[in-house]
Symmetry: D2
Subunit: 339 residues, 4 copies
Amino acid sequence: MIKVGVVGYGYWGPNLVRNFSVSRHFQVVAVAENKPAARETVARHYPSVLACEDAAELVARDDIDALAIATPVASHFPIARAALQSGKHVLVEKPLCRCVLEGEELIELAARMNRVLMVDHTFLFTGAVQTIRRLINRGDLGKLSYFDSMRVNLGLFQPDINCLWDLAPHDLSIIDHLWNDKVVAMDISGYCHINPTSPDMIYLTLHYARDAVAHLNLSWMSPVKVRRFAIGGTDRMLIWDDLDQDQKIRIYDSGIEFRSDDERATIIPDYRIGDILSPCIPRHEALSAVIEHFANVIKRDEQSIMDGTRGLQVVAILAEAQCLLDRRLRDLQKLRRGS
Amino acid sequence: MIKVGVVGYGYWGPNLVRNFSVSRHFQVVAVAENKPAARETVARHYPSVLACEDAAELVARDDIDALAIATPVASHFPIARAALQSGKHVLVEKPLCRCVLEGEELIELAARMNRVLMVDHTFLFTGAVQTIRRLINRGDLGKLSYFDSMRVNLGLFQPDINCLWDLAPHDLSIIDHLWNDKVVAMDISGYCHINPTSPDMIYLTLHYARDAVAHLNLSWMSPVKVRRFAIGGTDRMLIWDDLDQDQKIRIYDSGIEFRSDDERATIIPDYRIGDILSPCIPRHEALSAVIEHFANVIKRDEQSIMDGTRGLQVVAILAEAQCLLDRRLRDLQKLRRGS
Amino acid sequence: MIKVGVVGYGYWGPNLVRNFSVSRHFQVVAVAENKPAARETVARHYPSVLACEDAAELVARDDIDALAIATPVASHFPIARAALQSGKHVLVEKPLCRCVLEGEELIELAARMNRVLMVDHTFLFTGAVQTIRRLINRGDLGKLSYFDSMRVNLGLFQPDINCLWDLAPHDLSIIDHLWNDKVVAMDISGYCHINPTSPDMIYLTLHYARDAVAHLNLSWMSPVKVRRFAIGGTDRMLIWDDLDQDQKIRIYDSGIEFRSDDERATIIPDYRIGDILSPCIPRHEALSAVIEHFANVIKRDEQSIMDGTRGLQVVAILAEAQCLLDRRLRDLQKLRRGS
Amino acid sequence: MIKVGVVGYGYWGPNLVRNFSVSRHFQVVAVAENKPAARETVARHYPSVLACEDAAELVARDDIDALAIATPVASHFPIARAALQSGKHVLVEKPLCRCVLEGEELIELAARMNRVLMVDHTFLFTGAVQTIRRLINRGDLGKLSYFDSMRVNLGLFQPDINCLWDLAPHDLSIIDHLWNDKVVAMDISGYCHINPTSPDMIYLTLHYARDAVAHLNLSWMSPVKVRRFAIGGTDRMLIWDDLDQDQKIRIYDSGIEFRSDDERATIIPDYRIGDILSPCIPRHEALSAVIEHFANVIKRDEQSIMDGTRGLQVVAILAEAQCLLDRRLRDLQKLRRGS
């Protein structure tokens, strides 16, 4: 049994504790949480688990092998660093950290201490993403050309991060998992309803080296929740609507057909409108699979699909996008004032 | 009775002829179309209408008061100019023309000749847009902040224009009609599947002077057709799904509430999830109303809501967007080659 | 060219005339319609077609080979009889007639005169029904066990027929076409909102000889239009939603699995939840195919799939259902009075 | 604190225990369950709760004030009777019991012992039913005329009850709660796929004294789950789709308008197609409200809305429907054999 401590018992922490508790690989030893009410809940639901106030207490304990960190993003780095330094395996909530330097230090430290550093990109373990990955790897879609994601809802506003850092990690980790390519350029723009320096609507376009494009429409200001992710391929296209209970994934045997490369510029292509297939998606709690994966990686039975390096890729894109976005928002302010 | 000629009997021309035919204001005198098969169809369906080959024949006739032009975009300018010069009123299909200079010349010419120049932005006369405009003008949505349009489908590829010039005129004319504001900045990006210089996927973001943003996701490469247009306001938000037969428009009495401007940066706002109202949308053929409007403007009974100046605004945005897009596509090509 | 006359230019007549006009097999000679305004419309749209007042004028003409009858149901029989007697082929709108005796006389007369008698059950020529029939005949669904139809909308109330005679012919002709079996028993019940002897809501259950059941929920009093038709089979099930533009038909690879007949009574079966397939449905106007079929049957190139005998089957069920329904409504009235 | 015991820890029992546990009114003392694995789960999740094998142990204990019974239907009566006899309040899962005689005995016994007998018709405490009831009581729908329910899904087959007793109690208790009227007649029919004496598809029509009709389409053999409940009123109509997350209830300001009663038989009425309103439905766990209600009724702070008498009404309809159904199925078998 791997002895695990969980830092943070806010929104996601309870899910971690619940899943660690029922796993045959883990024993939850302690939870650190600074809100007294949350500690009381831990005590009531898990009488055998120690509820303490400070993450440092968990880091200091020798009877803990692994730490799961579900705190605000700014604290991921110091806690993860301390945990790795004290020889613990680490599972961090997404995003891994705030900037590339932090991420690089954590990766290097994990390598030096010979410990596992993993980022909880839960979506990679959903039945939907697993099904899509299988389709792509089997070649069912042909050569991919685009990813188009609409990930919008009303709130929830978060005090420490904006809409980009809240929503984009899902898409970025999924695309990295499915396509694994380098971003050569990006376009970003946004809009701030509430806090003038923290956008609540983001439009991000990523251009990949192997000639594919990803577009993310992210918003905390939509009256309805939408989780729509489209993938274009030369042979088939796919739409994943995560809120559709009956048909989460639809594969369209539709597309454009043309005869030769020479004809591309002059000839209007033909359309192929074909059947639509909705594969049956296995239903399981993705977080439970994340936790199994964490155990297997610790035991060296599996190679991690979301280790520090993959997590850092996501942070690197977020950090660069944020930088471009800040500049764009400043420019827009000036342009509006000048208009 | 206004005597009207129609140039072009391809996709839209038959709709114009059919609607002019049943209007009590117009008499269709002649149709010009260079495809013989289409001319035969005209002759069969409208025995009393002259079917000729060349637009010039219509321009030359004295018994024609007005010309409707439904030809490829590149020919809008020369035909409209000739028609105005010969003293005819002109209704041009959208977009008005290819560039600002062409549009300015047409507007000036129409003024000089004291003739009507109108652009057929048909959507402005749909029940949906009329209902939305009424809601906005009545203040039901509060102060507007965003327009978010997804206008995607599979094809139809057009030989003379790309996806921007095909799809964006709808959104641009609608936003202009609803919001009537100056664009102070724009971001654009795209992707080419077929013709490497003519994008079939476009992401366009427009920043308006009075602090609103519009985002257009336009594509000819989506396996499903989507016509989704969302509007955000401080009091209510709205989604117009033009393909939904029962609930084309949904008004959400939902939003974000905060207490004071000072608190914006620090306090997490509250959410209001309220009722959803789908107003009953009157069903009528929008083009029929366009044609009534054209007659009333010719008779000086109405001020046009889509005259040359409004049409030129759309062209000006398209032309600037195209310019930025060309540069961006060249940059992306270099960045990919260099990567 | 078969010379055809059309009787009735109300709701469906114009569709018949339009489709006969463009068919290469037919020439529309005359239309009979007692409303002067409708006759004027005919004259305007089809200058070469004679518009007369009375069906008898068409029956009397020697230059007419075939008559299409789109008048109220009560007049189907006398007009069709006169037409057959005068040696004309006949296409009657559904339902064929009001009772079995009328239908038998028409069938016998058509046989005697060696003329075609066909009922326009248009739905049989839709892409949806053709696709479903192919699936069933290919054995994709296994042995069929149920048909469940919900065919409801708001009105349109008709002066001459109730909701049963208006809506059920669609389902009855479709089921007959797909399943072709004898009804051994039926259950019917209804409710009258407007006219106390003419139900506007009907629940009809048909029990077929080869152990299948059909249930029809028919209503003129539903606030939304629903056209949902489900078919259960031992291997697959199917739902046809005629108002769904993207996925009219969904085939569910789902079902119940059990091991042996002995176990049926005691063992709880397993469920199989599988993929969902939406076949691409060819889009064409079904009425155009009906008219081609009519021509081919007249020319003896095809055997009719909706001749008088098939049409009579539908009428026979309607007549029996109406009889049971009348009795049930009288009983219910007494029971309510007595309660 | 009311001390409560729960009998049965299968599908629903865990929900009862969880909700009793967090209620400030109840303390869960013991759970009775004959499956050892389920008892172990109780012990692990609720260390302070006694897990015993037999309901009789709970009935015998003096430190238990109330018993919740979530066992197969056949055992409801003996367990509830023993519990009432030993002076305990009783909450029984729906349906209350198997027949009218059982129900009457329980009601009489509860009255004699001065104890609460309540049936857990959980749906009555959902936000949806509460909202609908408010609308009806406020007169928003006008005079009601119909209830039309489609409650279909794939399985779950149950060993002790058929599809009627599994699904109809929901609709019957809801209609009783909303409309509270006497059934004067019913029509029923069904179909058996698996067990030839236990239908898995049921069509039930109820005719109410005050001139309303209810139609229930119940099935365990539908490839998709549907929970659609329509209500017709003279002023407005309503559709409750319990699986729609955004718009559970839609109120249609649509209907039929006619001028006078005399005109009913002859004149075709007008249609009114109006706005559609989806009220915001409060989200809460209905079972938690049921348990609060149980506490308040025990404390005599509230009158029960689902006491034994209301529960018996549901059983009475089920029992009569079953009787008619059995006869109909026998008749159908004979008719098929004879055909």
